[in-house]
């Protein structure tokens, strides 16, 4: 192992150029510009903004059936249902008629009123997830909670109906 003296002796072998380079490196790294952190502008949009594609009649019927029955319709049934929608001029009316026909069929999976009222917040979140594929905002949750609590006639079926009729449900 070399003594400290011998290491000192070896220093002159670096030469003046070596020392200059070392100093330059030292100063160059020590002059790094201080980082500045900024915020990008982000536009705040209402919920559901990213949904800008309107569902076709068949997409609407297929998703509605899946949401209500947790079960898929056959391609043939979807084709026939599409024809029925085409045969009615007011598409909003056509959708109402189709939803109310679905609601009249056995096999619709809807929580009962007592379950909904036992945990309204959970019901609202589950309904938004099921139909609109997103979380409700606090404002939406509050509005629906107040609305459900204020009116004993508001049943899960009526709420499902309103979600299936909403404009947002028409888009994906």
């Amino acid at each position: 192992m070399p003594s400290s003296r011998s290491r000192f002796r070896s220093f002159p072998h670096w030469g003046k150029a070596g020392i200059g380079a070392a100093l330059l490196l030292l100063f160059a790294t020590s002059c790094t510009k201080e980082l500045e952190y900024e915020l990008n502008e982000v536009q705040l949009n209402p919920p559901g903004t990213i949904k800008d594609n309107e569902k076709t009649n068949q997409q609407y019927a297929a998703i509605l059936h899946a949401n209500l029955f947790q079960d898929a319709m056959s391609a043939n049934e979807l084709y026939e249902l599409d024809q029925c929608i085409q045969s009615i001029g007011d598409k909003e009316l056509a959708r109402e008629v189709i939803i109310s026909n679905f609601m009249n069929k056995p096999g619709v999976i809807i929580p009962d009123d007592a379950t909904m009222r036992a945990n309204i917040d959970a019901f609202i979140i589950e309904t938004y997830n099921r139909f609109l594929v997103r979380q409700p905002t606090e404002a939406e949750k509050t509005w629906f909670r107040n609305y459900i609590e204020a009116d004993p006639n508001v049943t899960p079926e009526i709420i499902y109906f309103s979600f299936a009729m909403s404009n947002e449900y028409l888009f994906y």
């Binding site: 026939e80 009615i88 026909n101 609305y147 979600f163």
Partner: protein, 444 residues
């Protein structure tokens, strides 16, 4: 401001308020010109899939189309003239040998005004239907595109403030883009001013019975009112992204009424009590039956009915004659039904009958069971059409135009309806009509 200036400006402002048009929350635009119409209800029959002048107005039966000499009138509910006496193939029974008896004591030609030689602006079905409803050609549109310019439904709803349930389009099919004709994509008109539409063969046929007939009935106040309120809340959250409105503006009450009508139609269809014409062995006649039911229930300001069975002429001339005979029978039934079964419309309704296009002068190569040639629609003869109207506001027993002196174009139907219903100036000044288009009343 001195007293004189104040009085002058106040007076000008008051005068402006009277003269300027204004819009009520209902959407009605009260134009400064204003004015009432000649009729309270109009029924337009789009007749009936391409009709040759020779077999209709010309009363030529087989004489101009086949190597036969038999002439005669097979549209005797609509036109004056004796029926053929030989080679009868258009009626009922085996071989169609029994002509369907006339339903009207007096033909529509005698009751009203016949424009015997008009010009279509398009030799195709969709273009022709567009011309009757838009008052314009559809040259820039595809077959699966909605009209670009406003339809007569939209003019009526926007400028006369007519409710959605008072404008009806009864189609004979969902094919041929027929369901697209109830409103246009024009940004100033469009869906909010559209007409209600049914294609009864689907809506109330086997498919409708399977998917639409078992609708749950909700209580209007206890159930539907909160449902609409929650929907409105959800729509408000989604409103800022410019979503497309797909409803035509039926109110909650109107929707309830239409649903009740549908329930009634499913019941009547099942019981066989739809107001069909006496002979209703084809789609057109059945469509007319449902149109009668629509009119009886809603008493629409404007009803448009489409028929198209005549188009079988491409490959079956015998079937063409039979379909045309049934179309005439259906029109006769429609008019008779209005006068005898709908008191609210009897005496104050005008009927307009016009083909969307004609058919060719020369046949194609397809022969039917009688060895008769079929006819397509693509040449100049396919632009030869007629138009007739009768009822409220229409002079009777008047015939205008002839083969050598055509008067009127198919697009005239739009301003004619507009004049009958009191919105002529608004339609004419909107700037969307085919050049040269006039109300038929202006051509008399």
């Amino acid at each position: 401001m001195d007293r004189r200036k104040f009085i002058k400006r106040a007076g000008a402002a008051a005068a402006g308020a009277f003269v300027m048009p204004y819009i009520l929350p209902s959407g009605r635009l009260f134009a400064a010109s204003g004015g009432g119409g000649l009729s309270q209800h109009v029924v337009l029959v789009m007749f009936a899939g391409g009709v040759r002048q020779q077999e209709s107005i010309g009363l030529r039966y087989l004489a101009d189309a086949q190597t036969e000499v038999h002439e005669g009138n097979i549209l005797y509910n609509m036109l004056n003239g004796a029926a053929p006496t030989q080679k009868i193939v258009y009626g009922t029974g085996l071989g169609g040998i029994n002509p369907i008896p006339g339903l009207l004591g007096q033909s529509l030609e005698s009751q009203g005004t016949l424009f015997a030689e008009m010009r279509a602006v398009n030799a195709g079905h969709y273009g022709g239907l567009n011309s009757l409803l838009q008052g314009n050609q559809a040259m820039t549109q595809g077959l699966t595109s909605k009209p670009l310019n406003p339809t007569i439904f939209e003019y009526l709803r926007r400028h006369a403030g007519v409710q959605a349930s008072k404008t009806w389009f009864v189609g004979n099919t969902i094919g041929n883009s027929v369901p697209l004709l109830n409103y246009s994509v024009h940004p100033d008109y469009g869906a909010p001013y559209g007409a209600n539409f049914f294609a009864p063969n689907i809506t109330f046929g086997p498919l409708g019975d399977q998917y639409l007939s078992d609708a749950k009935v909700y209580h209007p106040q206890d159930q539907l009112a909160p449902m609409y309120e929650m929907k409105a809340f959800l729509d408000n959250s989604f409103d800022n992204v410019g979503n497309v409105a797909t409803g035509i503006g039926n109110t909650a009450d109107e929707k309830q009424d239409i649903k009740a009508f549908m329930v009634e139609m499913f019941s009547k269809t099942q019981n066989g009590t739809i107001a069909h014409p006496p002979v209703h062995d084809n789609g057109d006649a059945q469509t007319i039956g449902y149109a009668c039911e629509v009119m009886k229930w809603f008493k629409p300001t404007l009803t448009v009915v489409n028929m198209s069975s005549v188009d079988g002429c491409h490959g079956n001339f015998t079937g063409y004659l039979a379909s045309m005979h049934r179309a005439d029978h259906s029109v006769g039934h429609l008019w008779n039904y209005i006068q005898t079964q709908i008191p609210e419309m009897a005496g104050n309704t005008t009927i307009i009958v016009a083909p969307e296009c004609g058919r060719n002068d020369q046949p194609n190569a397809i022969r039917d069971e009688n060895d008769w040639y079929g006819y397509d629609h693509s040449d100049a003869n396919a632009l030869r059409v007629f138009g007739m109207m009768a009822g409220a506001g229409v002079p009777s027993n008047l015939r205008i135009g002839s083969e050598g002196n055509p008067v009127g174009i198919a697009t005239d139907v739009v301003p004619t309806i507009a004049e009958l219903l009191g919105i002529k100036s608004e339609v004419m000044s909107a700037g969307f009509l085919n050049p040269g288009t006039l109300s038929l009343f202006d051509r008399m």
